[in-house]
């Protein structure tokens, strides 16, 4: 019956989200009036070509009001985004619970029998909906935002997506896309890996317009997920994204090409991590 209560909660949250969105719009229409005033004052100041104390004080007052409005709008928007994140995590919980309970719904086929195309779509969606980091003025991007590495004592939580280095049957080491099931010291089924072999994937996208320092720059060596696969390979950044929704353009190391690198391929921010491995050959 755990599923039911999750459903109810989800429904509840959705309603709340709806309310929040409506509130946002109310706030925005309210502040629009003030913004128009500001625009008119700007125009007048420019045509008359002077800034008398009257104008200055007036502008300052308008700016202060607009600032308060913008802050309110930001705050509601953040609530709404948080609400969405909560709903998503509830959905995720539901999915995991369903898998454990052995109940499969039609829309969520179990991973084992998932077709490759479906998996790829899921991956793509996951990349697209990675939350964008929008810092308040003065806030700098946290660890695991874009290119900012995890803090050294970070422990990946169950459900986190990571890049993991595993040994294949023939002894070759490969970086693969993996999901953390649990972190424990004891031996376990499937892959048991030491922390050194795990690189957590970013949890936020970095916004190129406000936090470009949280992005990898050109020619940086990274591990990137090869398109249409679930494996990470070494690559050099060709171009970082310009807009928040854009992907990195990377050059994969590929000995089958003349210069040793593939043509530029697009990889989402979510699937690009720093490469610390030294190639010893």
């Amino acid at each position: 019956m755990a599923l039911v209560s999750t459903d109810t909660k989800i429904a509840e949250y959705l309603t709340e989200l709806h309310q929040l969105i409506k509130q946002t719009q109310e706030e925005r229409s309210r502040s629009e009036h003030n913004l128009l005033n500001i625009q008119k004052t700007h125009e007048r100041m420019q045509t008359e070509n002077k800034t008398s104390p009257y104008y200055r004080t007036k502008l300052r007052g308008l700016y202060t009001t607009a600032k308060a409005d913008a802050e309110a709008e930001c705050s509601i928007l953040r609530h709404a985004l948080d609400k969405i994140a909560e709903i998503k995590s509830l959905l995720e919980e539901r999915r995991i619970a369903a898998k454990m309970a052995g109940v499969y719904s039609d829309s969520d086929p179990p991973r084992k029998t998932m077709r490759r195309g479906v998996l790829m779509t899921l991956l793509q969606q996951s990349a697209m909906t990675l939350p964008l980091w929008i810092g308040k003025p003065g806030e700098s991007p946290p660890p695991l935002c874009g290119a900012i590495p995890a803090s050294s004592d970070y422990v990946a939580k169950p459900g986190d997506k990571v890049a993991a280095r595993v040994k294949a049957v023939d002894g070759d080491e490969q970086w693969i896309l993996a999901e953390v099931v649990s972190y424990s010291h004891s031996t376990n089924k499937r892959h048991t890996l030491s922390r050194r072999r795990i690189i957590p994937l970013p949890q936020w996208k970095a916004n190129p317009e406000t936090d470009p320092e949280a992005l990898f720059s050109k020619d940086h060596l990274v591990l990137a997920l090869y398109p249409q696969t679930t494996c990470f390979y070494r690559a050099l950044i060709h171009t970082p994204p310009h807009r928040p929704q854009d992907d990195y353009s990377v050059l994969f190391e590929d000995t089958s090409y003349a210069d040793g690198y593939s043509p530029p391929l697009n990889v989402a921010q979510r699937y690009v991590v720093a490469c610390k491995e030294n190639k010893k050959k």
């Binding site: 913004l35 070509n49 003025p137």
Partner: protein, 368 residues
């Protein structure tokens, strides 16, 4: 002229809110739904993206508002805050604060208004015409950056003359400075004082009297003969003796040889610094003390020598930099070779070693 200072460098941002009708369709659709319809789970992703767009634009607006408001407040307090300058775009305006303060971004058509209302106003022509009223979404990057970047630029600009490399020009200036004192040294010699006037007059008077006496003698030869001669002789002898005692030395120093010797001893002991315009003979040998401001030839020579040494060191440092680059090049070549999964060739290894050794030898020279 007070108008000149009265223009705060405001940027007239276009604070237009995001057109959610165009850019956020899902958001708009949701808005128009009644409460019963609610939101579907499948819409969450798109909603998330749209909300993120709205939030980031509101955020940018917030930052810009804050910045502009701050400018107005500071400027209100009449602080001369060079933060107003946009360093990257207006380097040429940095020189005169008058000209650079009025940073109003006017439309080109209105630029002609400039000379009319205020003489100092028209610097908008210097500004790049593309800095018009900003479409807010397009140019957010400049906002936080510009105030931050200015201070370090100004600091380094002011420190630049002290840290810059010594050029040949400056060496030449020092050389010229050194030469001129040598020429002038001759002018420092004060002409000999000569005898003091009282003595001279006494001598002249004596001569006069002698002549008179001689004439008188001739007239009164018989009467005063022996006496006057004796007198004259005596007087002469006396005078001569006194002269010889008080004869001023050749170089015109009025203080006598004892004083001279005393002064020389004192200077040698470094208690008194020698004055170039009083011709005390040759105070050579000891250093002049650490008076950095003195313009004596000795300290100038020192500065000259130091400048020469520094030039030499600079050349060496330059060579070190070149050697560094060569080492880096060799390193890169080897890394490229490794990436391509082949061992670096002997040639590459040799190059690397050569570059390393060269660099080490230059460094040793530098330290030595």
């Amino acid at each position: 002229m007070s108008e000149l200072k009265d223009c705060p460098p405001l940027k007239y941002y276009d604070f237009k809110p995001v057109e959610h009708g165009k850019l956020c369709p899902r958001y708009t659709a949701v808005l128009s739904r009644s409460d019963d319809d609610g939101i579907g789970i499948e819409e969450l992703d798109t909603l998330q993206l749209e909300l993120e767009t709205l939030l980031s634009s509101a955020n940018r607006r917030l930052r810009a508002l804050e910045e502009q408001r701050q400018i107005l407040t500071d400027w209100q307090d009449k602080k001369v805050d060079k933060r107003f300058l946009k360093p990257g775009k207006e380097a040429d305006l940095m020189t005169t604060p008058r000209h650079s303060k009025p940073k109003k971004q006017k439309l080109d058509g209105k630029g002609s208004h400039g000379p009319g209302p205020g003489p100092g106003r028209p610097k908008s022509k210097n500004l790049q015409p593309k800095i018009q009223e900003y479409e807010f979404n397009e140019d957010p990057q400049d906002i936080p950056r510009n105030p931050k970047n200015d201070a370090p630029n100004r600091f380094w600009a002011s420190v630049e003359p002290y840290c810059a490399d010594i050029t040949n020009e400056e060496i030449r200036v020092l050389e010229e400075l050194l030469k001129t004192p040598e020429d002038e040294a001759e002018y420092y010699k004060v002409p000999v004082l000569g005898k003091h006037y009282s003595q001279r007059w006494a001598q002249e008077d004596l001569l006069e009297e002698q002549r008179d006496g001689a004439r008188a003698n001739e007239k009164k030869k018989g009467v005063m003969g022996p006496l006057s001669e004796l007198d004259a002789k005596d007087v002469d002898a006396l005078l001569k003796k006194s002269e010889s005692q008080h004869d001023p030395p050749e170089d015109g120093c009025p203080f006598g040889p004892l004083t001279q010797r005393l002064l020389q001893a004192l200077v040698e002991e470094n208690i008194i610094s020698p004055m170039e315009d009083s011709p005390i003979p040759e105070v050579s040998g000891k250093d002049m003390g650490n008076d950095g401001a003195s313009t004596s030839p000795r300290s100038q020579g020192k500065a000259f020598r130091l400048a020469r040494e520094e030039m030499h060191k600079q050349e060496l440092r330059q060579r070190v930099r070149v050697a560094d680059n060569e080492v880096m090049e060799a390193f890169r070549r080897i890394m490229a070779a490794r990436q391509k999964k082949r061992t670096p060739t002997k040639k590459e290894k040799d190059q690397a070693w050569k570059a390393l050794r060269e660099r080490e030898s230059i460094l040793k020279l530098l330290d030595g």
